[in-house]
Symmetry: C2
Subunit: 162 residues, 2 copies
């Protein structure tokens, strides 16, 4: 079970944008430069995040992307679902209805217990990501990134943010 690599990009973008002053934005090209990822691929994910109401676009000469809500109100789950979709991880094709024991569909009135068990695991995963906010992740990054990288980031943001 794997998520797309766009999830890592999307989360890092949101955490970087959480460090901007309220009225500032970063253009897509600068976000790609900062994260060292291909601008064309990142653009697709930025649009998905904007479509999901996680980011918003600022038009004009000072244009770019910024968070659409305060960092404490954006969850990791929102970012994952914007980029990777919200389909359950378990693919249930209802194979219990096939083969020599098959009954008419109307007879299967109860959810398959196997499907139910996997849904519970999915819910545990989602619940964990739903209680993790961009504000939490931002505080984590302040703590785990090497100090010289933080200092370079601060200077880069001063030069690049609009």
């Amino acid at each position: 079970m794997r998520m797309s690599d766009g999830v890592e990009w999307g989360v890092h973008v949101c955490v970087l944008l959480a460090s901007l002053p309220d009225d500032a934005a970063l253009p897509a090209a600068k976000l790609a430069e900062y994260h060292g990822v291909p601008a064309a691929y990142l653009a697709k994910h930025l649009q998905a995040l904007a479509g999901a109401g996680v980011l918003c676009t600022v038009k004009g000469a000072k244009g770019g992307y910024r968070l659409a809500k305060p960092p404490a109100e954006i969850t990791a789950l929102e970012i994952v679902e914007a980029i990777d979709g919200d389909e359950p991880a378990f693919r249930c094709a209802e194979i219990r209805r096939r083969g020599p024991t098959a009954q008419p569909a109307r007879e299967y009135t109860k959810v398959c217990g196997i499907h139910h068990a996997f849904t519970k695991a999915d819910e545990a995963w989602r619940a964990e990501l739903a209680r993790t906010t961009v504000a939490d992740l931002f505080m984590g990054v302040l703590n785990d990134v090497p100090r010289p990288a933080l200092e370079k980031a601060a200077r880069w943001l001063q030069e690049s943010a609009r």
Copy 2:
């Protein structure tokens, strides 16, 4: 984030095999017939489950597959990992080390907080599947499958098990 459809097949196979008497087995072709899935694809997953110690093969005229352990000792997580691998769902390419703030690798002494948050979600998912056994799932299926399907299954097993 999606699992392969082989996971559904693998779990259903294990639950069906849990209903066999201790010394009985079912050939791969019968397992494919029961679940209405392509024999060639199912064979690949049966081999993966045998390789992981979830199933074992019985040789000879009465040969086939059976559970390698009691159903209460096989977890849903073992089946998932046998079929879908045990890689974490979150793909971390350490993009924090790229771009204009990059530092030498040795400077990144702490795990990225973003990676850590996703690992916690992964662990919640795994923990849920690790506490669900094939015995639990078997009891669930007895409860959720229509009664006529259960009766047909009992007759089919009597004719097909070796």
